[in-house]
Symmetry: C2
Subunit: 380 residues, 2 copies
């Protein structure tokens, strides 16, 4: 046994824990904060509320919320300008807001452009601004990971990776997640479940990662359908949020596998929600994966209350049904063929997820998965 | 549900992982390191080996190893002088070496005496030296905790507590633990098991702490007797070491309970190994504690493969038997009475552990535990 567990930030969990944000910011020594927040959250009054709390503690702040969907280089540049001169970056929102905030804490500190750090072109600065991350969706796990995704100048997906981008403090406040629509709760929650599952069963899985991955699987599987069906159930919301955070720790250490290969390949063809794409990719590849019947797959089965790995696919199908997930892809996929998708699955940037899969993935397997996805019902 | 999880350092686990120490030190930016190491380890050649590795990476170093047993103020002052001008402190050894190293990383940075920080008299400096902690016993969990114990000028036990003393990096190398005598392996391992158990079942127990506490209980219970009986079994050694580290996370967040009240009270009377005292205190109080029959106690039972809390006392007695732990106290206790021990249990500094116990501990309960301890066989 040999492994590396990357550090885990301070975590504060509780409904309305955001009310203690200013105190946490002060204890990090903050005097001037940049807030990166999803635009609909900012418009809901949360930006004003947060700025008011900070001001009462003597901390000045500026808000950047002029983005939607996946972060683009332009957003990183604009947010860096807003964060210039700040000593703390606060990210509030989904994975996009958090990824922008985590990158900007580095670029604002060094004055370098985000492209300077993309794809590990240069080492990240050691003096990044302090970072508080507050996820309002339970899915990406960005609050506990060192990975940050954005679209480069030509629209190509790029990443900035490094411990320097990790949060100093994570606030998990289930009350911030109750307004998320049911379909997004389901898609994001499945994404988190799959993070936990893939990190616990792929070629990089290890003992410490599994502690987090198993706990995440256990609590998400037990609470996701309730969080979808009864959006105001703060207990269920909180458990899914906590599970997503643990799953973030699991992927931060052990990465993902074939479902994320399929998901990223789909995103390469046409816009689709990452959580939905991942859930669809997971369901179509899982019966094949479960045949590997490894010790880790059987351990995952036991965590889910099953007796063997071969029972996992049915379990996941029931979970997705209970969460009301329609197996359908956007109409935009009508313009593409099975071969187009299989090609994306073979693209160089998607090979790490293919290679980390516990079963060897040959080209015929990819064709099978691509066929299953592309023959799915299309949204009107 | 509401909780706070304190940050967890980077962890590197593996046999001979210490061989990568210099690289880790360099990646923390170190140029000049102070090494705090148990004297018998230093004499074994480990000090020279570590200094050689560091020198090969261009890092100069000095060793402080002039201490044995529990740290005294004198040791902290001497180690601070050695660490003056260093940018990294490396602690290698049992809890004493690690506690000294963690405190000295603060006092060497600020130039203040350790007494300046004792019992939270003043805030710790924000610019502590970088810290790498390498436990060579599996017990205290000091490598992942913010608590540090030493004897003050009058011999009284004092503590320095704060996130500023926590490690940046922990190296868990089971190969460093194989030379530990069987009795110490058993006593330290039981201490770690009890950390995990008390943190998971006391009044401060919470969901995130239990993730670590439960995993620690599981792997220590499954591997401790083997680590004691077959000292060179690196797999069992490693699992107990990892369990002790997780148990450190659990107490760092949720603290201990009545077994540690008894243990600290015993140490107040006469010298006794902390792990042994804690194991004895645990066994005599556990049947009483298990009667509380709480959800957390039953969850702990399930983790141990039992069906109910009332089975835990027998399980622990069998575990202690399997580890060859003699139920006997040092002859020095002959000078004291049951009332003396009960008095120590009522001392102000031991009340936090009494109050955190999930069952109310009345004075008659303390008398019962004190009687059970003091009527035990005495070592010749």
């Amino acid at each position: 046994m040999k492994f590396s567990l990357s550090h885990i930030p301070d975590i504060r969990f509780g409904a309305d824990e955001i009310d203690n944000l200013a105190g946490h910011a002060a204890s990090l020594g903050a005097e001037r904060a940049a807030i990166v927040m999803d635009s609909f959250l900012a418009a809901s009054g949360l930006a004003a509320r947060v700025q008011g709390m900070l001001a009462a503690e003597g901390i000045t702040s500026e808000v950047y919320s002029d983005f939607a969907g996946e972060p683009k280089l332009k957003h990183l540049r604009e947010a860096t300008a807003v964060a210039s001169g700040a000593d703390l970056v606060i990210g509030i929102g989904g994975g996009s807001a958090l990824d922008i905030a985590k990158i900007v804490a580095c670029t604002a500190a060094s004055g370098e452009d985000a492209m300077h750090y993309a794809l590990a072109a240069n080492p990240l600065p050691k003096n990044a601004l302090k970072k508080i991350m507050i996820p309002t969706t339970a899915g990406t796990g960005s609050e506990t990971s060192a990975t940050n995704i954005f679209a480069g100048p030509e629209g190509k997906k790029l990443w900035i990776w490094g411990a320097e981008t990790k949060a100093d403090l994570v606030i998990l406040d289930p009350a911030l997640t109750v307004s998320l629509p049911a379909s997004l709760t389901a898609w994001c929650g499945m994404d988190a479940f799959i993070h936990a599952f893939e990190a616990s069963t792929n070629r990089n899985a290890h003992a410490a990662g599994k502690v987090f991955g198993h706990e995440a699987m256990r609590i998400i599987a037990a609470n996701l359908a309730e969080a979808v069906g009864n959006p105001s159930n703060l207990d269920a919301r909180g458990k899914v949020l906590l599970g997503s955070c643990y799953a973030g720790v699991a992927i931060d250490n052990c990465g993902t596998a074939i479902a994320h290969n399929i998901s990223h390949a789909m995103a390469g063809l046409a816009p689709i929600h990452h959580g939905l794409a991942t859930a669809l990719g997971f369901e179509v590849s899982l019966p094949w994966l479960a045949q590997a019947d490894t010790a880790d797959l059987n351990a995952a089965a036991a965590v889910l209350g099953l007796t063997r790995a071969s029972e996992i696919p049915d379990f996941v199908t029931r979970l997705m049904d209970a969460c009301g997930i329609r197996r359908a892809i956007p109409a935009a996929f009508n313009s593409f063929t099975v071969a187009d998708l299989a090609n994306e699955m073979r693209a160089p940037e998607n090979q790490p997820m293919r290679r980390s899969t516990i079963r060897d993935v040959n080209d015929a397997d990819l064709d099978t998965f691509a066929t299953a996805i592309m023959t799915m019902q299309k949204e009107a």
